[in-house]
Amino acid sequence: MGDATDIEKRETGTPEETPPWEYAPAPESTEVVHLRDRYDLFVGGRFVEPKSGRYFTTINPATEEPLAEVAEAGEEDVNLAVRAAREAFEERWRDLRGKERAKFIYRIARALQERSREFAVLETMNNGKPIKESRDVDVPLAAAHFFYYAGWADKLEYAFPGRTPRPLGVAAQITPWNFPLLMCAWKLAPALAAGNTVVLKPASTTPLTALLLAEVIEQAELPPGVVNVIPGPGGKTGEWLARHPDVAKIAFTGSTEIGKVLRRSVAGTGKRLTLELGGKAANIVFEDAPLDQAIEGIVNGIFFNQGEVCCAGSRLFVQESVFELLLDKLKARLDTLRVGDPLDKNTDVGAINSRDQLEKITELVQSGIEEGAEIYQPDCVLPERGFWFRPTLFTNVSQSHRIAREEIFGPVLSILTFRTPEEAVEKANNTPYGLSAGIWTDKGSRILWMAERMKAGVVWANTFNRFDPSSPFGGYKESGFGREGGRHGLQPYLHLDGGAA
């Protein structure tokens, strides 16, 4: 290990054969976004000042510049939001015919499509993710989720054979900062389609697209109180919301650590709960895999959204016979990644969402070096301001290293090897997490054999990080329980009464 403790001073890779491709700047205009100085809470169908009297500053993580002041919901604000949601449930939404509920949800989908560029740019400004991802993934998928679930609102009796579905009441939804808008869509769309009303607490570092969505919901003229958006810190606002006695269901996406806290805090209350938590996915490459495709899948798996993805393919398992070849290809590919201004249309890897997260990544990477793993980072120039982390590979990783066990939630890949399919299964499942897995091989029977054995809720074979509103998503083991997406994603929001005779 020597004295190499400063990551910035580590030896970095240099592109050897081909000179780096030159890219002219291609910045996306921010003109389409009209930031307000101040954003209030969205409660009871309108934007209201917080009773807490508090506002916090939300920043652009790529520049560290403030973007706006955002209202922080205090305990009284939480109570008001839940009351608004409860009243909207009892007086309007619960009894509204499904086909009418559907039309409101379709309106949201359409408005997202119409204002897609505005949402994408704002998402990138507040989160730090590359514009090509917010533009091509986050926003279109968010619209698609609303569109998909809108169509379920008047077909619920077909979703669960033999049952008579009923909505639960007020759903408390707590969303993460990595896909701020998309996670709002994953949560809101099935809840509303099933006939519930919602109090949504967006992540405290990325509230802006949730608040813009609230504006869309206001313009779509949903009955007041059906959706309420109340930003604030998870430990306070989120906790008050989850503990509120009028909340019937809690949906949480975030870390396993906080998921467990939430689980304990609602123990014995009878509230319904779904948790979408952390991951440490295995991405497994067999020697017969199409290696160049696999390289793209590996890169997508761990560098998509800066690796700030719960299902990121953060543990790469390579069959020994192709390890050297694959590593060379992977390093060469890493050297071509463009890290920097998220608003530049050519950027592959944007900014880390917050200083806290950057420190967490840095600390874990440091532990990898100290525990004896070998680090590789491309020689890219990072902007001076903002939160950045180079795409990082680790080799010589043992299963006991922290970087092989703990979720890093950053652009850091730990590479391990295996010899036989049995060994790959053993190592891949050797984790308390179980959200996703990747398999790369040309052999069909092996894909199915491996897929069967992965203790993971989503298995991508010869692809990675694919999402669709019709496709259920969620974890095994400590990655949480319940599914979001597809027909299965409705169930957490419904009572299924009655049995077939």
């Binding site: 998921g259 689980r263 304990r264 014995g268 308390p432 894909i447 809720g457 298995v459 694919r466 049995g499």
Partner: protein
């Protein structure tokens, strides 16, 4: 046979890994009939017994899940066949436990096995599916067993209650550790003797008798148990159980409160409540 023949009494033991051990602790407790007769000294399982049971369940799980659904269905149907043959014993035990209509209880318990056995090779079709994703991918969702499931059997309905919790759990390929009704454990003990002789592999079902308040927190906190069915957990213990279950993000399931004899008491959703939905993607291309 002469009239003065002395009856051979049964020792009520634990059922762990296909064997019938006494508690390693050497402890037992008295079980009485509803009218106060001493029925048996029943093993009072210890924490070590519970750990042994979890280990047996974990070892048996891949093999049980790996059997074909058709095979699991036949094995569980055979449980019903063998119960039918021992119904006199079950009826007597239910009568001892104070059941008003023991015959009806045994009928319903046997029929419940038959009903669930038939789901083994249907639940995937009815509750899984293919998903029409917007891209060139084949995408399907299949329910899979969650792993090792702890079951706290309902204190009342000492036979139908435990069968109604147990059958939907093992239909899918889960293995279990069952904490039997504390006050009326004998039907569960007899059920374990049926299971031992009905081709259900050793370790798939493990039955512990003992004190509910002692065993349940150990079960809820065990880090190698994936889920817990808390239908039989006393209300005042539920909060603690759910807090302990958070340690490894256990799935916590409680059956809906319905008349156990009603059609609503059996449901494929009771099966999927202790299953995981796995979604697989693969590109489509020439």
């Amino acid at each position: 046979m002469s009239e003065d023949r002395v009856e051979v009494r049964r020792t009520a033991k634990l059922y762990v890994g296909g064997e019938f051990p006494r508690s390693e602790s050497g402890r037992s407790y008295e079980v009485h009939s509803a009218d106060g007769r001493l029925l048996a000294w029943v093993a009072r399982a210890s924490r070590k017994d519970l750990r042994d049971a979890v280990r047996a369940a974990r070892s048996a799980q891949p093999g049980w899940a790996g059997k074909t659904a058709y095979n699991r269905g036949q094995i569980l149907y055979r449980v019903a066949e063998l119960m039918e043959g021992r119904r006199a014993q079950f009826e007597m035990e239910l009568a001892d436990a104070g059941a008003s209509d023991p015959r009806r209880g045994v009928d319903a318990a046997i029929d419940r096995w038959v009903w669930y056995a038939g789901w083994c090779d249907k639940v995937h079709q009815v509750l899984g599916g293919t998903n029409p994703v917007a891209g060139p991918y084949f995408n399907f969702t299949i329910p899979e067993p969650t792993g090792v499931v702890g079951i706290v059997a309902p204190p009342d309905q000492s036979l139908l209650g435990v069968v109604s919790r147990l059958a939907p759990v093992i239909v899918s390929g889960n293995t279990t550790v069952v904490v039997a009704s504390e006050k009326a454990p004998l039907p569960a003990v007899s059920l374990s003797e049926v299971l031992a002789t009905s081709d259900v592999p050793a370790g798939v079902v493990n039955v512990l008798t003992g004190l509910t308040r002692e065993l349940v927190p150990w079960l809820a906190g065990h880090m190698d148990v994936n889920a817990i069915d808390v239908t039989g957990v006393p209300d005042d213990l539920l909060k603690q159980v759910e807090e302990l279950a958070a340690g490894n993000v256990k799935r916590v399931h409680r059956a809906p409160e319905v008349d156990p004899f009603s059609p609503g008491a059996q449901s494929p959703y009771e099966i999927t409540a202790l299953m995981e939905m796995k979604t697989v993607w693969h590109p489509i291309g020439a």
